[in-house]
């Protein structure tokens, strides 16, 4: 494995971390459109809180996908063709939720507004759940042949472990979304998000523990890397505890950073366990490795230079756009 290959493995992890941190909360917020927000006016505020950002957040996914294609084409080809159905459903979910915000705002009848609100809610739930399921299934190991073609059956990727993984990621996104709403709004929505958090966090804890147990039985992570895997799982739980402490003591930034770091820990856990592989095959001989799945040194070198010169500029205006919309949105009056 060359250092460039290593850098790119890390960079793909960084891009997915960015995606889960950012789209994590806007998936969460998207889920809350229907049940959490009670009136039309409240829904407006909830959607408005991610209005200027959701599109930019999703670009992290597109960048991660493109970067994977550029740096590890074999990984990209195997992963995307292998998890065809899950990715197809993810695309459908992302499409529905993506257009829902703009379309809902322009509907005139209650029924159609409601339709697009459901599209946002269900789309966000499904996207978060399916991403969780996909990555959980991926680390459990899949039937991959010598050519790198994966031919998984339905129950290879839909089983107890992947379902728990899916639910855990969904709940994590949900609390992250609630934490975001606590930061971005004031008034009744802010208070309600806090109240909801108190209920949802215990579920999340249960989910994380169950996930860790299944991780032990379903993957080779604890066998191959007992120390680092344990450390990251512990970090995941600590970040969640910190966030929960932020709920109990009403420290909003602490909660938000805590849930964001929990999501990042999940990505770190996956990438740490994968290393030095990128796809785990049931037959270890067929696993895709960092060293034989990447692009040529020329392309990696080129991509490194371009990424390190463009990404900082992107980050500057990306962060600036959040700063511009820093102000809290007020909740509508109750009797409206």
């Amino acid at each position: 494995m060359t250092s460039l290959q290593f850098i790119w493995f890390i960079l793909i992890g960084v891009l997915f971390s960015g995606f889960f941190f950012l789209d994590g909360f806007d998936f969460g917020v998207g889920m809350l459109v229907k049940s959490f927000a009670k009136t039309d006016a409240e829904r407006d505020v909830v959607i408005r809180s991610i209005g200027p950002h959701w599109d930019g957040n999703e670009v992290w996914l597109i960048t991660a996908g493109g970067a994977m294609f550029a740096s590890f084409p074999m990984w990209y080809a195997t992963l995307f063709s292998g998890f065809y159905l899950i990715l197809f459903l993810i695309l459908a979910a992302l499409i529905f939720r993506g257009v829902s915000f703009e379309f809902r705002a322009n509907m005139r009848t209650e029924t159609w507004r409601s339709f697009w609100e459901w599209a946002s809610t269900i789309g966000s739930f499904c996207a978060a759940f399916l991403f969780g399921m996909l990555f959980t299934a991926m680390i459990a190991g899949m039937p991959i042949d010598k050519n790198g073609d994966m031919s998984a059956h339905f129950f290879d990727y839909v089983n107890l472990f992947s379902l728990v993984g899916g639910v855990a990621v969904t709940v994590l996104c949900l609390v992250h979304g609630l934490n975001y709403i606590r930061l971005k709004t004031e008034g009744s929505l802010r208070d309600r998000a806090l109240a909801w958090n108190k209920v949802v966090y215990p579920i999340l804890f249960a989910g994380e523990v169950l996930f860790a147990v299944l991780l032990y039985f379903s993957t080779d992570f604890f066998d191959k890397k007992p120390l680092s895997t344990t450390a990251i799982v512990v970090a995941l739980v600590i970040f969640t505890c910190l966030a929960y402490w932020g709920v109990l003591g009403n420290h909003e930034w602490l909660s938000f950073i805590g849930s964001g770091l929990s999501l990042i820990s999940v990505v770190v856990l996956i990438f740490n366990g994968l290393f030095p592989r990128v796809m785990i095959a049931n037959n270890p001989a067929n696993s895709l490795l960092i060293k034989n799945s990447s692009s040529s040194p020329y392309t990696l070198h080129l991509m490194t230079i371009l990424t390190f010169s463009i990404l900082p500029i992107v980050l500057i205006y990306f962060v600036w756009s959040y700063w511009v919309f820093y102000k809290r949105l007020s909740s509508p009056k109750q009797n409206a």
Binding site: G56, I62, T63, F80, S81, L94, I95, V99, S296
Partner: protein, 484 residues
């Protein structure tokens, strides 16, 4: 399983065609609208005329709808290479992935961040800064077109690569060569100009329908004027860049060019050009045609003499060149009818756009009322708002069908590129669901645009992004709907 004669390759190709055509309804529309809206807002910034601000906001609404659909359908495009074309991704990853990643990094972030800023900050920044936002969106989306076309150009005309002897995959040796690919620089201006034409004629068409109803006459006449000036400049630009592109094909992809002109036999020195023609594609013959002498040579070489190779000759040459590697069973003929008629639709429409723009600008002179009296003209203009979408599709039909049977010209056939591990059932399901989703989104788009148009520029209903004065600047709440 029930045998419907469906195979992975056919379904994957259908899916690529369908998703790309649908995606490409919105891409040029968005790029073009960003440009036109940016021009309108710049005029507002310079002149301080509130009408131009209203125009930027009003046509900006359609831009936002189109952008949303363009974004979500774009993700399918990126994922689909890995999902349906995994062998292609392995073969091409070293070259194809880089422009795709840079597209996301350099262009998509810029577009998506600044569109958010533009939408929600009408009253927060001074007008020059706010105008800058829409220019950045426009710049970002044009940049994304550049990168994706760089990737496409490699498929049409591979440059700057070697074949890795161990893996048999292409490997990049010169990024400079990938970027300076002449195919790219003949394709990119044509696509961008076409995008500007698309938006201007949609705006002109919408304005024409409202003028027929004598609604907001000043507003729509001004809009019409901006749209037609842009439309005229860039339809001429499209024609010129299209000419460069097609002449480039003669040497580079002669089969594509011959099919566009319906030439089975080599042309004679007289340069007879078939204006319309019928083909017997099975026996590779022209059955009838209406010929005009010299035009073919004028189009091909800008002079009256010369000859152009016909498809039968080129087919033999291709077999001589590739049979060793790919066997003699491959059919090198491209879908002649599709290319021939697509080319005629595209070039005919290009000329029509230029003509309409000139006539429209004359009728719409400031002091003249001609535009209001020439109702027939407004009807034609109104109908032509659909034409750019057909034309854009025709253009891509030529480009993509014309590289048959290759996915990467001369290096990889379409049949070798498809994912071997995806089932017919998966592909069939996804095809059906995509189709339904696209149909649904298409209908909603048309309904929304129509409704926005009907509501008019003064209507505060659906003030998407433009709620005046409120500190909240909430685009989705203030007066957005009338119940409760």
């Amino acid at each position: 399983m029930l045998n419907l004669g469906l195979d992975i390759l056919g379904l994957a190709r259908f899916q690529f065609g369908m998703t790309t055509v649908f995606h490409f309804f919105f891409v040029p529309f968005s790029i073009g609208l960003a440009f036109v809206v940016a021009v309108m807002e710049t005029m507002y910034a310079i002149k301080g005329d509130e009408d131009y601000k209203k125009m930027a906001q009003f046509w900006g609404k359609m831009f936002l709808y189109s952008f949303a659909v363009g974004v979500v359908t774009g993700i399918i495009q990126e994922f689909q290479f890995g999902m349906n074309w995994s062998e292609y991704s392995r073969f091409m990853g070293d070259i194809f992935g880089a422009p795709l990643a840079i597209e996301a990094l350099a262009a998509f972030f810029m577009e998506s961040t600044f569109i958010g800023m533009w939408m929600f900050t009408w009253d927060r920044f001074n007008k020059w800064v706010h105008t800058l936002f829409i220019w950045l969106v426009m710049f970002g989306s044009s940049l994304s077109a550049l990168w994706i076309l760089a990737a496409n150009s490699f498929m049409q005309n591979p440059l700057g690569y070697i074949i890795n002897q161990q893996t048999g995959h292409v490997q990049m040796v010169s990024f400079g060569a990938v970027l300076s690919n002449p195919q790219l620089w003949s394709e990119f201006p044509h696509v961008i100009f076409g995008a500007f034409v698309t938006a201007s004629f949609v705006i002109a068409g919408c304005a024409a329908w409202r003028l027929l109803k004598k609604d907001h006459v000043t507003f729509y006449r001004k809009s019409l004027n901006v749209a037609l000036v842009i439309g005229l400049i860039f339809s001429l630009g499209s024609i010129a860049s299209g000419d460069i592109q097609s002449r480039y094909l003669i040497n580079n992809q002669p089969m594509k060019f011959a099919a566009m002109e319906g030439l089975y036999k080599d042309s004679t020195n007289k340069g007879e050009w078939a204006a319309v023609s019928g083909f017997d594609t099975k026996n590779h013959k022209t059955t009838w045609s209406v010929d005009v002498p010299y035009v073919l040579n004028l189009l091909s070489y800008h002079k009256t003499t010369g000859t152009v190779k016909g498809m039968n000759t080129i087919n033999k040459e291709m077999h001589a060149k590739y049979d060793k590697k790919y066997g003699s069973d491959i059919n090198y003929y491209v879908p002649t009818n599709t290319l021939f008629w697509s080319f005629r639709i595209m070039s005919g429409a290009g000329a029509l756009f230029a003509l309409l723009a000139i006539v429209g600008l004359i009728f719409n002179r400031k002091k003249s009322q001609a535009i209001m009296k020439q109702r027939w003209f407004l009807y034609i203009m109104g109908l032509c708002l659909w034409l750019p979408f057909i034309v854009n599709t025709a253009g891509w039909f030529i480009t993509e069908f014309g590289r048959y049977p290759w996915v990467v010209y001369g290096l990889l056939t379409i049949a070798d590129a498809v994912s071997p591990n995806v089932s017919v059932a998966s592909l069939l399901t996804s095809n059906i669901i995509y189709f339904l989703m696209f149909a649904g989104m298409g209908v909603v788009m048309i309904v929304l645009c129509h409704r926005t148009l009907k509501a008019g520029p003064d209507n505060d209903e659906n003030t998407d992004g433009y709620a005046a004065s409120d500190t909240d600047l909430d685009p989705y709440s203030k007066g957005a709907f009338n119940h409760d």
